[in-house]
Homo-oligomer: 357 residues x 2
Amino acid sequence: MTKKILVLPGDGIGPEIIAEARKVLDKVNAQFDLGLEFEQGLMGGCSIDACGVPLSDETLARAAAADAILLGAVGGPKWDKLDRAIRPEKGLLKMRSSLQLFANLRPAIMYPQLADASSLKPEIVSGLDILIVRELTGGIYFGEPRGIRTLENGEREGFNTYKYSESEIERIGRNAFEMAMKRNKRLCSVDKANVLEATVLWREVMDRLAPEYPEVSLSHMYVDNAAMQLVKAPKQFDVMVTGNMFGDILSDAAAMLTGSIGMLPSASLDKNRRGMYEPCHGSAPDIAGLGVANPLATILSVSMMLRYSLNKPAAADAIELAVSKVLDQGLRTGDIMSAGMKQVGTVEMGDAVVAAL
Amino acid sequence: MTKKILVLPGDGIGPEIIAEARKVLDKVNAQFDLGLEFEQGLMGGCSIDACGVPLSDETLARAAAADAILLGAVGGPKWDKLDRAIRPEKGLLKMRSSLQLFANLRPAIMYPQLADASSLKPEIVSGLDILIVRELTGGIYFGEPRGIRTLENGEREGFNTYKYSESEIERIGRNAFEMAMKRNKRLCSVDKANVLEATVLWREVMDRLAPEYPEVSLSHMYVDNAAMQLVKAPKQFDVMVTGNMFGDILSDAAAMLTGSIGMLPSASLDKNRRGMYEPCHGSAPDIAGLGVANPLATILSVSMMLRYSLNKPAAADAIELAVSKVLDQGLRTGDIMSAGMKQVGTVEMGDAVVAAL
Ligand SMILES: CC(C)[C@H](C(=O)O)[C@@H](O)C(=O)O
Ligand SMILES: CC(C)[C@H](C(=O)O)[C@@H](O)C(=O)O
């Protein structure tokens, strides 16, 4: 039985890092006899250039038909001046929403080989392994009404709507409890229930789900405190679950605790675990085309894809092991370089992972 | 000409830290002949216990008539089970909103004597001095409509409204530009203009104000990136300005970078610079009554009060110098204790500051 993967290289360093991820995929495809087939498509700025919109209906239809999507990164200064409605980001948001990829998994893992890279003291972050489960198709990102209107007194007002229904909270909540079951069984739900009604309901639903997962210990934390605790003592967390906006902020802060955002993959899943996989970092237009970008976050996204959407844990494990090996060999791209290591480019790093497989 | 100060000790450690701040105020009042007069009032849990609401109309009226308000801290587990409408936090929100204390100034300063306290590497945070200017009476904290409603399909939905008008953005923007003028003339405005229309207008208004402050260099940053940059390289920031919700999150993260949140004061000002002053930390019910709380954040809040609302910079300077002296003497409360220093309690710390004045 073949599985179809839609590959969307995107903009900036996207094509470079995707090329390396593809090499790795080709290797495991053969090695583990996975039966994967690949198609390529456009999303983001490259799609705007080619057909005027960041995500065409045709690409969206191919994405909907695929078993998984592998994305590089989208956006860049070239498209920043465009009307907001057709910016590269809109393609990403449309993809998430149309395919109902509501569960965004963002691991923040400290690789022991990269302990130096963090801006935090080693004892605070060594061994760090947090999974942030972010709701991705609701909340203030998609709430209506929204816009900019003129008030009676003649001045303008910008407005957005933050909302979550019980069923939206329930499905992301279950996802997070299930993730916690597979890990250390601690789940921290982040809200601002002392101020926002939308998150009062969030907290209530999380509490309601808890008895179904008696082994998981559920706690609640206000988002301001969560931001503080991530800086102060991040190892207190196992799985964190939160809404779209808070998740955007906290997952980036958590990622940066490791100092090596070039290493961090992400998954965005629908209710059947079909999903889109992409590195946590952006399209880094400043280094695009220079052959220096770190392909490991994208390669590790491939591993997540094999694990979550394609149910090929052995192949996923093999990739993670291979990445760990190249780090042990002392190979480093510029973003994670440190004294005594060997600096390599994007292609060399990809080749090294393939060789280690 | 006398000036009236309303003192609200609040809950938890509030009364203990306020007692020390009062000693310091009494001392500078005499020393600098400030003509300050004091009244005391109730806000938070203590007010709920005494009169059923977290902020009575009578206390609010006295606050409106005062030249400045000094607050300890509010809240605690005792009142957590109460109906949301009469929780201690509601008193704080009502005070901010009724008195239109729209400009919340939250410094994140790394005291050289406390460099060890941070969870970040010394080279990342030494000399850190950021001022976060947070809008405090608008945005999603106060936006209507809000609530929990039942949808047609029978399930419930929690909802809030995020909105900012041009005039609201303008007044906090001017405030931030003025702060930047008095500091290093760099202002970073934080928004999520790639997703939220409310912040598209925010960015537009900030850009429109910029030419009025040609010496200030204005930059814009998305909130997720700002959270990341605070962890990675916080010294890149001078003044940051943002809305109520993002400001809540980022100011707590920034405060925690210093590792000594027990040292950080805050001010909440109206358009005439009348305001409320309080420590950044909370009411710490776990250590209430033990005499171990750090009174320095509250004492430094007194200094901010003298500087911003009472226009007494010499007295403000004297307090800051006195705090620095006691740190030089090696005195530390438990929260900032480190090897080789002398651990003291709340009262001893307050006495030491008074003696150093
Ligand atoms: C590009 C942007 C719309 C997006 C988001 O805010 O979700 C990004 O920051 C992310 O986290 O994937
Ligand atoms: C207590 C709470 C309502 C408050 C806020 O969110 O503004 C607090 O976190 C703060 O930052 O002063």
